[in-house]
Symmetry: C2
DNA sequence: GGAATCCTTTTACATATGTTAAAAAAGACC
DNA sequence: GGTCTTTTTTAACATATGTAAAAGGATTCC
């Protein structure tokens, strides 16, 4: 389900539909400044996507061809492991989310993206983005840096998973994302932590 | 300890020292072809490094400024967790290895790289490499692709750690790297799997 | 070739987490 | 407001892995 924002130019509905991309460019500029021509070209491949709570933004089985920026709301990447729903990651406002194992390989993803609140995303078409890399090395560089940072986070997460107890990981998580508890069902937090809901309940009962 | 290969031009010891970079370029070309000028410039920032068994290639505490290609031998990334030696990764012949959490952040690494056999590496100076990115977008693109692939592997590894038993992970590991058992002490395999040596021994006793 | 060191296994016990089922609590819907 | 559904907790039991200590093997080094 994709709902474009209202076109403010009623006389000519064919002109590019206006999006407020300010939060996205602000995010980009925390990595690197962009020329205005690069910004224009990026803007031309962005769409606005609005999804109600608990709906799929991207369905399991499709190849990832869009990188999303969360403008409002909250979502998760999830998949089924032996029939059990597992949350791989959460994404809050002002962050990017994509199923990189599909984005970078071109293979269909076993994972989906689902909203956990009514949400608004900016979608960046990845095939068009990769084409822009040829003309605008600074765009390629920007996304290189973004994914390098994400890679580092993932490496650090392995250490966190492998050498901390579930209790430590839970305390870490709520310390770093305090509003997660208010906004996300515990069952998703449990599977994100790699434990059962029962186990998480036991840990919480200690406090 | 860094030992350069013999300079074959005895008349002028100042010319760039010759390295056999063929295996490295073959590795690169599995990602992307390179112009000969790019290859020349990469060659100019490579050194040959020879390290005996069980020595540090890179010490804990230093910032990572070299990406290594394993030409011969075998090494591991390791660190100390509460005083216990943990292996984060192994690297065999014809693969790259770097402590990315330091390489991409510029912060000192809590991890070291240690050989597990007498080994020969090609070291790529990373500050010089990042400088080359400005002149040679194809070099930036090559390394972007290399690290994107490594990122995907790391994402997949999280799933493997979180949702498989130690026994399944052990069987996976020896299936995918059969010679690991012949070449690496079990204690390192245990910590790589996130379990104790005792636990690994129990698992092995079943077979 | 013997002593010292390092690596691996075994044993016994402790603990964290999984599994299943049921009850309690919270939220969604007419 | 009350019913239905979903979410969370609790209980009882099973199992995997951790910890500590000791013993057996293998390797290194003089």
């Amino acid at each position: 389900m994709i709902i474009k924002e209202t076109n403010t130019n009623m006389m000519n509905p064919e002109v590019p539909i206006y999006h407020n991309l300010q939060p996205l460019f602000q995010f980009f500029e925390s990595f690197q400044n962009l020329s205005s021509s690069s910004k224009d070209r990026i803007a031309s491949i962005c769409t606005s996507v609005q999804i109600p709570k608990n709906k799929d933004l991207q369905a399991i089985g499709h190849t990832c061809r869009t990188i999303y920026f969360v403008k409002k709301g909250l979502c998760r990447i999830y998949y089924y492991k032996d029939g059990v729903d597992i949350t791989e990651a959460f994404a809050f406002e002002n962050s990017l989310i994509a199923r990189v194992e599909s984005l970078f390989t071109g293979r269909p993803s076993k994972k989906g993206i689902q909203t956990l609140e009514d949400s608004v995303f900016i979608g960046i078409a990845s095939p068009a983005l990769f084409d822009l890399y040829d003309q605008f090395p600074e765009i390629e560089r920007l996304f290189r840096k973004i994914f390098e940072a994400a890679y580092v986070e993932t490496v650090n997460r392995i250490e966190n998973i492998q050498f901390h107890t579930a209790e430590e990981r839970y305390n870490d998580l709520i310390k770093n994302s305090p509003d997660l508890l208010q906004r996300v069902p515990l069952k998703h937090i449990a599977s994100y932590l790699g434990i059962t809901q029962v186990s998480l309940s036991r840990i919480r009962a200690k406090y």
